[in-house]
């Protein structure tokens, strides 16, 4: 049986239930969704004793106000949005005990845009096509397929560990990302780089782009040096991935993120590598982004290294208890 554990007092800007996404149905046009920063959600889950893929609460910039309905353990990872427990500042990347009746609020965003609340047991919502992730455009997954609203009650799944054993654990500071300091992200060029003028590829790699106001879970539209195509911006509709950078006719790139459609019709200049994706997702409107190229082999070494870290953390290594 799942326990009702959290009541939404104020919903915040766009608070939703997310896990690692709805994979396996992209061939049928089903959008993947999932956490914008999957590293932060996974670490949060590890800190509270959950499997890495458990569902948590995703918060962006303006956090919600949540009342705790049962004693439990939480961890807040990802962006530092000044979380508070009964008015006292809370640490990020650390698990902590909460008691029935206590209230979680958020304040000024200090670093990053997306934060995750992991709850012992994980948030329990119906599984839709293998995932609890909310995809609001098709109204599926998460809590009734939508962003959280005032008065919603969230439940957690049952778990077998003691709450005491997972409280007060933190991620070693060595691994805590500093989002503000990272402006440069790495991309693997292609598949349509040949459709873009060579001078534009150089420009793309040497200039700085601003995250525009037209940015959401689907993707971030960027503003900067205008890129030109050799023979037009349109391609036969083809697959796009998380981190794929499209260049539409306007010449202003779009980085596709969690809620991207499965296919698109614009030229794809490249794709941001997995380990750098959180640093894109965590950018605010107006922040600068730069791109550099990397080969797939190097990107995969970094991927494997991060996967090893997450596996070690799951075993308790690198977690400060």
């Amino acid at each position: 049986m799942s326990n009702t554990i959290i009541e939404v007092v104020k919903p915040g800007l766009a608070t939703s239930v997310q896990d690692l996404g709805r994979t396996g149905f992209q061939a049928f046009g089903v959008v993947v969704s999932g956490a914008m920063d999957s590293f932060a959600l996974q670490v949060g889950n590890i800190l509270v004793g959950n499997p890495r893929e458990a569902a948590g609460i995703e918060i962006v910039i303006m956090g919600p106000e949540l009342r705790i309905l049962e004693d439990t353990v939480l961890a807040i990872c990802g962006a530092d949005l000044s979380p508070k427990l009964d008015g006292e500042l809370l640490p990020v990347w650390k698990s902590f005990s909460v008691r029935k009746g206590q209230v979680i609020t958020f304040g000024q965003p200090k670093d990053g845009a997306y934060a995750y609340i992991a709850v012992a047991g994980g948030i329990d919502t119906p599984v839709v096509m293998g995932s609890k992730s909310t995809y609001t455009k098709a109204a599926i997954g998460g809590f009734k397929g939508r962003y959280l609203q005032k008065g919603d009650h969230l439940a957690s799944s049952p778990f077998s560990f003691s709450l005491k054993s997972v409280s007060g654990r933190g991620l070693s500071p060595t691994y805590v990302p500093n989002y503000k300091n990272v402006e440069k992200v790495r991309v693997i060029l292609g598949p349509d780089q040949a459709a873009i003028a060579e001078s534009s590829i150089e420009q793309f790699l040497s200039s700085s782009y601003k995250v525009s106001t037209q940015s959401d879970r689907m993707g971030y539209r960027l503003e900067g040096a205008e890129l030109t195509h050799k023979h037009g911006a349109d391609i036969l509709s083809d697959a796009v991935l998380s981190g794929t950078i499209q260049v539409p006719a306007s010449g202003q790139p779009i980085v596709l993120l969690a809620d991207r459609q499965t296919t698109g019709g614009y030229t794809r200049i490249g794709t941001v590598i997995s380990v750098d994706l959180p640093f894109v997702a965590q950018k605010y409107t107006g922040s600068e982004l730069r791109f550099e190229t990397v080969q797939v082999e190097e990107a995969q070494l970094l991927y494997v290294k991060r996967e090893r870290l997450l596996r070690c953390l799951s075993l308790g290594a690198g977690v400060i208890g």
């Binding site: 396996g24 149905f25 049928f28 839709v128 098709a138 509709s237 997995s274 991927y303 494997v304």
Partner: protein, 240 residues
Amino acid sequence: MFQISAFGDTGLRIQFGDHISKDINQQIRSFCILLEKEGIPGVIEWVPTYTAITVVYDPYTILYSALVTQMEKLQNRLSDMELPPAEIMHVPVCYGGEMGPDLAAVACLHNLDESQVISIHSSGDYLIYMMGFIPGFAYLGGMSKEIATARLENPRAAIPAGSVGIAGEQTGIYPLESPGGWQIIGRTPIKLYDPNSSSPILLRAGNYIRFKPIDVEEYEVIEKEVNAGTYIPYVETFIE
């Protein structure tokens, strides 16, 4: 053509051609069947499109170079592949009226009667080249150019699920309510997308659909069956 390239660090893309054709579609369909049979560890899913397949994988389990080798091995088996019979899914459509508010305009533009547009639209079989855009949306090939019609100048804010439309030389069915600028000529009561079903998506790339004109009464009967979960779509199989 069989060109492999890295697509990000979790994708591998195989390009089979550079234009829309049935032959390329069949190669892609065959390769997808090989992928399904092979069950390569680390391969999570694949997305077939008009000219390519993008294989999504976990680099912790299999690295790009190793996956390239696997794909080349599969390619060698491609020519021996016999495609299983293709399916033609019959899709009942109530044309015109409230359900197809643009049928009259489409007919007018082409100097045809509404009944002629219906008969042209429902005469051929449409190949499902790929799925994408929104859950359950099928990119169909095979519509007659006689009824090709430009999109609406002012897109509608909400088009009901099941709406059948025309956009240029394409025809398609909206699997869920969404905004859009297609010319809506009819609506089907069947669900192309049902997130709570054990098979949430009705259509598959590589198969065909055939539109079957129905009237409002038939629409209501089928709709009731669909809602009760008792409707079984009519499917024909044939060897290509």
